[in-house]
Symmetry: C2
Subunit: 189 residues, 2 copies
């Protein structure tokens, strides 16, 4: 793949499993990263506006769903090692549906607007293919999360379904959610 300017304007260099984007790099995370990840995740889960996890989720449960259950969990970090964002990847269904993966992404509050989500989305698609997945599905994209929806669309995801009232937004009450989907491996399966 030719080097191309990404959204943040950085030049991309490819390494196996780790990408260095100049302004940040994305790598598999380890147990030592958890405190930084939790600092990013906790305010997002507590807000109850984008993720379905119970807003009063405990740290142990959060660690289980973000670090232990997924196939892999990544951290996006600044050159000084500060965490900017994190995402996980896992099969969306067992057995005969396990070729479709699901990802969840969170960008730290102080790192917004710098293309972190965009880079994580690209990275996750490459990792998904590397891990043998053929498609990626987001199950519950909250309709009020317009920035995310725009971003996923720009990265090739389609809204394939609307779920009326499927998300209980802590500020707005019951709102619709979207199912978004992208095939990562071209047709002729």
């Amino acid at each position: 793949m030719p080097a191309a300017p990404d959204e943040a304007g950085a030049l991309r260099k490819e390494h196996r499993g780790t990408r260095d984007h100049g302004m940040m790099r994305i790598r598999l995370c380890n147990d030592l990263d958890w405190p930084q990840l939790w600092a990013i995740l906790e305010p997002v889960f507590r807000a109850g506006e984008t993720y379905a996890f119970a807003p009063d989720i405990g740290e142990d449960e959060a660690r289980r769903v973000w670090m232990e259950e997924p196939s892999a969990t990544y951290i996006a970090e600044a050159p000084d090692g500060r965490a900017l964002g994190t995402y996980f990847i896992k099969p969306n269904q067992p057995g005969l549906g396990s070729h479709v993966c699901n990802c969840g992404y969170v960008v730290g509050e102080r790192a917004r607007g710098r293309g972190v989500a965009s880079l994580m989305c690209e990275h996750s698609q490459e990792e998904a293919v590397r891990l043998g997945f053929r498609a990626m599905q987001y199950n519950l994209v909250v309709a009020t999360n317009e920035g995310a929806i725009r971003l996923w669309r720009r990265h090739g995801f389609e809204i394939v379904g609307r779920l009326p009232g499927a998300f209980r937004h802590l500020r707005f009450g019951y709102v619709d959610a979207f199912v978004m989907y992208k095939q990562l491996v071209p047709g002729g399966w």
Copy 2:
């Protein structure tokens, strides 16, 4: 609700948690029912045409996903106690998505064509409301399973999304799957 002829032509009588449909009754199941349920489930899972569970799923794992993880599991049985079908009900998402439930239904091979699935679908909607759910979602209705799709539509479910190639059918290879959804509690949430 007035007694009305159901699909099988039987007269419905309502009890708390158990419905007696003349030809069959549906009740919460218990540990003693498992061997009968497994006898119904195993050939369906092994066939790999309708459920995503790995076709070589073990009995312990099947018991976990069908009996232990769900909020409730039911058995439809003939007057002589023979199992005709089974279904489970559970939240489809955690926390802020837990007002939407998910169900899985299986009818025994020898009990097909007698309205068992239809009665279980009605029963599950009543149970869902009783348990406090506001909507029901099927996440992966295999596109080749036309009988089921017709049935769910007749019971008020809409196809809200199509997932290209999301199911690896053991006979047909990658086929599309549908997301189906029904609001159980009228608007104005």
